[in-house]
Amino acid sequence: ESTSACSGSVDGSLYLMKNQKEKLRMTMPMTLSFCYMALLWLREPMTLSDLLRFVVEGHIPYLNVFQHFPEKMKLYGLDLKIFCVESWPVYEEVYNKMLELAVFLDLPRFPDITDSCFLHPDILCMKYLMEANLPDELHNWTCRVVKKVCIGEADFLTLVPGNKSTRKVKYDVLAAAVIVVVLKLLFLLDDYYEWLLSDFAEERNKNNKEGGPYFEFKKWYKVIKCSLDVKQKKLDEERAKYLWRCEKPLFYSAEKKSKVLKKRQMVVNLQNQFGKLAGSVRPVEKPNPSSFQLSWSEENTDGSCFHGHSLEGILQEKCGLLTAMNPDYWLGTDKLCTEKLCGHLAHYREMDFPQSYHFVLRLFSFLLRIQPSYIHDEVCVIEHKLFNKKLWRNMKYNTGLRK
């Protein structure tokens, strides 16, 4: 047993040497890339955001995984840098590494994502609509958008490692973005029109005796905002209370062992002492992992579930079809940026956009645990595909774009 800080696993130091950057090195986040890749190959009903959330919630061993190593495997020295996790896994990083990994393993085209797969936008939109407490009727609209921009096709959705011409699909972000586009189509979300429509729907609801109620944006907003604020606050507190260490501490070398163990003991003592003063008993059992973070039941008599609400309140009949009353649309960006140059396709700043739009982004940002800007990027891409012809036509005649 060596006592120097530079020992540990036989190739630990080799592993961390800088000139190895070209090669793909196994890291803790990459273990998650592996998991996700496997899930994708098997077409399991779990998105990457779900996976990462389960990791953070502690349902999947990751944080102090070395606790579960066999006794004989002692980690010390540079092993610590490899196995010690001190940050939450980042979506982008895990995703990109997954792509690299698929190429590295020389994998062929993944099994097709068809419209009966969980990851297909039609199915995933349904799930997110339910979670966001939006009317089931919106599903028709999401399917229409999906069809219109051709993002429901197996060729678009299926991962082909190494194929640089196709843009890689983030299923969860895509589905969320589709819903946001649909909301913009129906409600405009310019901080004015949606409220107007809501008042209109409210009026119509007064005379609406048979059938279900018409969907009112205002009511939905109030309910969701309330829940979201509560959940967000809870999440923020959990971030502050997040514990990173475990009973089995790591130490660089045998010399440091006693010091580390003493510190561990002191931390445990202090936790006990102040834990008692904290009053409420900390829940010993973690709640079971759940795919849904928000759930709404139609059995609630307080009218806080909007699944069954009808969109008729905000639609009008035209030539025998129901279309949106809203004739306008604003684009998130005039022109898409190149991802390679600045990492983003669009540039989202909260203050530049209507508050309702930000609210909707915030909702999905919370559900997916990613920054609103990622969803905004995807929304812009879909919009540009949707209004492609119109855009080109408008630009040609120089009528300017509404924003």
């Binding site: 953070v56 001190e86 940050s87 939450w88 980042v90 979506y91 967000q232 923020d236 507190e237 971030r239 502050a240 209370k241 997040y242 514990l243 990173w244 260490r245 501490p249 580390v260 510190k263 561990r264 002191m266 931390v267 003592n269 202090l270 936790q271 002492q273 102040f274 834990g275 008692k276 003063l277 904290a278 009053g279 409420s280 909260e350 915030r362 940002s365 919370f366 645990r369 990613i370 920054q371």
Partner: protein, 412 residues
């Protein structure tokens, strides 16, 4: 935006700390304890080079919570502090000292003494030299507790001095306390600073054992050494000492003169004025007038009948002798714009008369001279006084009427 979805160890501890701080500011001790429970982990990665590392944070926050939380006990506090002592050797003596303070605040004097003694015997390589200041403080506070014991022994002797009481062990104990206390008290007051309590105790000890010279030297040093911060109390202690030992008026006056310069509103200004008024030297009497006027510039003295009687006496004396009216004129010059509203309003006249007849009498005299017999204050009070048939007010009225031209001379 605070809704970041990334998180790492350092960030989560920063956020945790801000939650603790918020909870403490709102006195939510349970909540603070809850978050502190998560924060203590940061000890396991105490690699920070910042000045206030997690261990100091935990010590200070933990102390606050344990002080205020209703369920915590002294025993818990002690156990916590003992752990804190082992956390940071650079802070060891500071923690010991604050622990001792806490014990004293809770009346656990013996425990505090034990702690301080233990800390005194601590040695840790070069840290001992680095923490020299804290060590001196520890010895100084232990010396205070020795003084406290000394007082107790002294009182025992005084109570039982006459009976056939075994005085010897108590005496020996007392002298031993004295020796222990004296050596460390002497040490600490050498360092420039504010050591009021220590100086007082030390002087008390010296006086008891008859070492007046040492006592005087200590007090002089404390008051006059320019390295020490300006401290009115130093002059007060010196003055009190000089008075106790029947020193000359001259030395008493010089001691109080500095006090007047630093704190014109000090309560000893009455004694000072009284002393100065009696002086044969014109300069001293002049100073006395200045002193009493200056004192009454302060709101805290407005209702002080004694102060007003000093001023009244001196004003009366000057007016009667008709010498040095210019002194009053000089003092009044800078005050005539604001003293009338400050001291001599009609409202105050009514209030003073109702609450304190003597006060109103003295003030009326001063008002009558400074503002003339037609001023609101004098008119109201003298009228009320005569109506109530109090003799001195009639005399006062005659006096002011007699000397009314004075007002014209001093107000011009």
């Amino acid at each position: 935006s605070s809704h970041e979805h990334k998180l790492n160890f350092k960030k989560s501890k920063e956020v945790c700390l801000s939650y603790i701080q918020d909870a403490m500011l709102q006195k939510q001790w349970k909540r603070a304890a809850e978050f502190l429970t998560s924060y203590v982990e940061s000890l396991e990665k105490d690699f920070s080079r910042e000045n206030v590392g997690p261990s100091e944070m935990i010590w200070r926050i933990g102390t606050e919570i344990l002080c205020h939380h209703s369920y915590s006990s002294m025993k818990e506090f002690n156990s916590f502090i003992e752990q804190m002592k082992t956390l940071g050797v650079k802070r060891y003596l500071k923690v010991c000292l604050e622990h001792a303070f806490h014990l004293l605040c809770n009346g656990l004097i013996d425990e505090a003494y034990q702690n301080l003694s233990l800390a005194e015997s601590w040695r840790f390589g070069e840290q001992t030299a680095i923490q020299d200041k804290e060590m001196k403080l520890i010895r100084a506070y232990r010396a205070l507790l020795d003084y406290y014991s000394w007082c107790k022994q002294k009182n025992i002797l005084l109570e039982h001095g006459q009976d056939g009481f075994e005085a010897l062990p108590v005496e020996q104990e007392m002298h031993s306390c004295f020796r222990k206390a004296a050596v460390n008290l002497k040490e600490i007051i050498k360092i420039p600073g504010v050591w009021d309590l220590f100086v007082k105790c030390y002087v008390d000890l010296l006086e008891f054992y008859g070492d007046h010279n040492e006592a005087r030297q200590v007090l002089n040093e404390y008051a006059y050494n320019s390295k020490f911060p300006a401290n009115p109390n130093a002059h007060v202690y010196l003055y009190q000492f000089l008075k106790r030992h029947g020193e000359s008026k001259k030395s008493l006056v010089s001691a109080l003169k500095i006090l007047h310069d630093i704190v014109p509103s000090h309560e000893l200004m009455i004694d000072f004025n009284t002393m100065l008024q009696k002086s044969k030297k014109r300069r001293k009497r002049r100073l006395g007038l200045e002193v009493i006027f200056a004192a009454l510039d302060y709101a805290g003295w407005k209702q002080n009948a004694k102060a007003w009687s000093c001023l009244a006496r001196q004003v009366k004396q000057i007016v009667t002798s008709e010498k040095h009216l210019d002194w009053i004129k000089q003092e009044w010059n800078s005050r005539k714009d604001w003293w009338p509203a400050f001291h001599f309003s009609r409202y105050l006249a009514k209030r003073n008369w109702q609450e304190n007849e003597s006060l109103s009498y003295e003030k009326a005299l001063v008002a009558g001279i400074l503002l003339g017999k037609d001023c609101k204050y004098f008119k109201y009070v003298s009228h009320q006084g005569c109506k109530a048939q109090v003799k001195r007010f009639r005399i006062l009225k005659k006096f002011v009427n007699k000397h009314s031209p004075v007002y014209l001379r001093i107000s011009g």
